[in-house]
């Protein structure tokens, strides 16, 4: 029983279908996670000198509450395994909704649960990346911006974000790749992504060597695409 390519060739259509789903979950996870992570990361810093110091009136309350929420969310996600998060959202959340709000029969399909999980999970780690990169912006530059009398939103969008973003690219790229690989864990809630496809083919023909090699290569290709696109973006930003 040597290494027989024909089993790989046979499995290509299923593996491609799985890879497509993996890619789909990952892209939604990255985009959603970035949005969530940016908001959570900025709220995590609300009221600190890194984003222009304390605010007043209603904004002060908003930033205080927002900060508590952000901290809670980040700690919750970082302190639990992603498999547990997926299980919770897929199986337990519908029950929680029923108990808490008396609404019956709300249930996500496995794919939706997977996408929600990956967004929530990536968002928390990206929030920490956003926080770190914003905090790394020279305090003097932030003060130079503040001293001009611009609004907090202008300060963040025109000065802090462009400088912080450049620094966030390498760790964000890292997180993108981690999130892509994390999608393989959704095998536990029955999403037909790449790992699951591999597992199913393997179960029917028992060609572990060929199939898991092929699966690994598929992952490698996808992670390389992510890494290369980030390299490209980083290079283009090096002009400043």
């Amino acid at each position: 029983m040597g290494f027989e390519f024909k089993y790989i060739v046979e499995s290509i259509p299923s593996l491609l279908a799985g890879a497509k789903l993996t890619w789909y979950i990952t892209i939604l996870g990255i985009v959603g996670g970035l949005a969530l992570g940016t908001v959570a990361g900025l709220f995590r810093l609300a009221g600190t000198s890194a984003v222009g110091g304390e605010s007043h009136g209603i904004f002060r309350i908003v930033s205080y509450v927002g900060q508590k929420f952000a901290v809670g969310y980040i700690e919750l996600i970082r302190g639990t395994p992603i498999i547990v998060q997926a299980m919770f959202i897929y199986f337990a959340l519908p029950m929680l909704i029923e108990v808490a709000f008396g609404v019956k029969g709300i249930r996500f399909n496995a794919l939706t649960a997977a996408v929600i999980t990956i967004i929530l999970n990536a968002g928390a780690y990206m929030a920490e990346i956003v926080r770190g990169s914003v905090q790394s912006v020279n305090k003097g530059l932030v003060e130079a911006g503040m001293a001009m009398g611009i609004s907090r939103l202008q300060l963040i969008s025109s000065i802090i974000a462009p400088i912080a973003f450049k620094r966030a690219i390498p760790p964000l790229g890292n997180q993108f790749i981690i999130s892509l690989k994390d999608t393989s864990l959704f095998i536990v809630i029955g999403v037909g992504e790449l790992t699951r496809q591999g597992q199913e083919i393997m179960a029917s023909n028992f060609r572990a060597l060929e199939i898991w090699s092929a699966v690994a290569v598929c992952y490698l290709i996808m992670t390389s695409v992510l890494a290369l696109s980030l390299k490209f973006i980083e290079k283009r930003m090096k002009t400043v």
Partner: protein, 244 residues
């Protein structure tokens, strides 16, 4: 004389350390106030209180008719009228020299892109850097960066300009070009408060000299007179120390 900056019994502490003690000071229009004093005497802190980068702990500070801390929500209105130049320049690294200067007019004064760029061009010329508009800060010398920073602070046509040791980070041969620009600003009649160790600037361009010591204004008077015949030992020692 209409005061534009007025300290009334101002105290400032960081935690338990009181850094400014009972500061009373009135600065009128077009005054060029030079502030000197030993390290840690509170010069930077006093300057940073004026545009609210530090909030005073007690007393009142009236800047351009806005009273701190009572009206601290209007801090942006103060900042729009107060330009600041820092020791380490702090030009925005992701913008060219021209973009750094055009930023304020666009964001703070609502100027169009063309208006802001024209203004930036004028200011670049004024600080002698017409040919450096497209350069990023990292490609400029320290003296050039500081001149761009002065142009950036002037770009919104502020009523007051604050300078915190603008030449201290520069090699001696680059200081002159920055001091010349500052002297030109002083001639335009903008109210200036300048923390510096450049006594030549104090005597040439200054209209008033403050000597700060341990969080207090120890001397306040005409630069010519104070520098020629310092009335206290502390000031005499200090002037000797900075090599004047």
């Amino acid at each position: 004389m209409n005061p534009v900056i007025e300290f009334k019994k101002v105290n400032k502490s960081f935690g338990k350390t009181e850094v400014l003690h009972d500061i009373n000071l009135t600065i009128g229009k077009k005054e060029v106030v030079v502030v000197v004093g030993p390290s840690g005497s509170g010069k930077s802190t006093m300057l940073r209180c004026i545009n609210g980068l530090e909030m005073i702990t007690s007393g009142e500070l009236i800047v351009n008719d806005i009273c701190l801390p009572r009206q601290k929500r209007q801090i942006r209105e103060i900042r729009k009228e107060v330009g600041m130049v820092f020791q380490l320049f702090y030009l925005f690294p992701h913008m060219t020299a021209r973009e750094n200067i055009a930023f304020g007019p666009k964001k703070v004064r609502g100027a169009s892109k063309a208006e802001a760029n024209d203004l930036a061009e004028d200011l670049l010329k004024k600080v002698g850097l017409s040919d450096r508009g497209d350069f990023y800060p990292s490609a400029l010398s320290g003296g050039q960066q500081q001149r761009v920073a002065i142009a950036r602070a002037m770009s919104v046509k502020p009523k007051i300009m604050l300078f915190d040791e603008p030449t201290s980070a520069l090699d001696p041969e680059l200081r002159e070009e920055v001091l010349n620009v500052m002297t030109a600003v002083a001639r335009e009649g903008i109210t200036m408060v300048v923390v510096t160790h450049e006594m030549s600037f104090a005597s040439k361009a200054g209209s008033r000299l403050l000597f700060m010591d341990e969080g207090r204004i120890a001397e306040d008077g005409d630069p010519e007179i104070l520098l020629k015949s310092p009335s206290t030992e502390r000031l005499k020692d200090f002037l000797q120390h900075v090599g004047y």
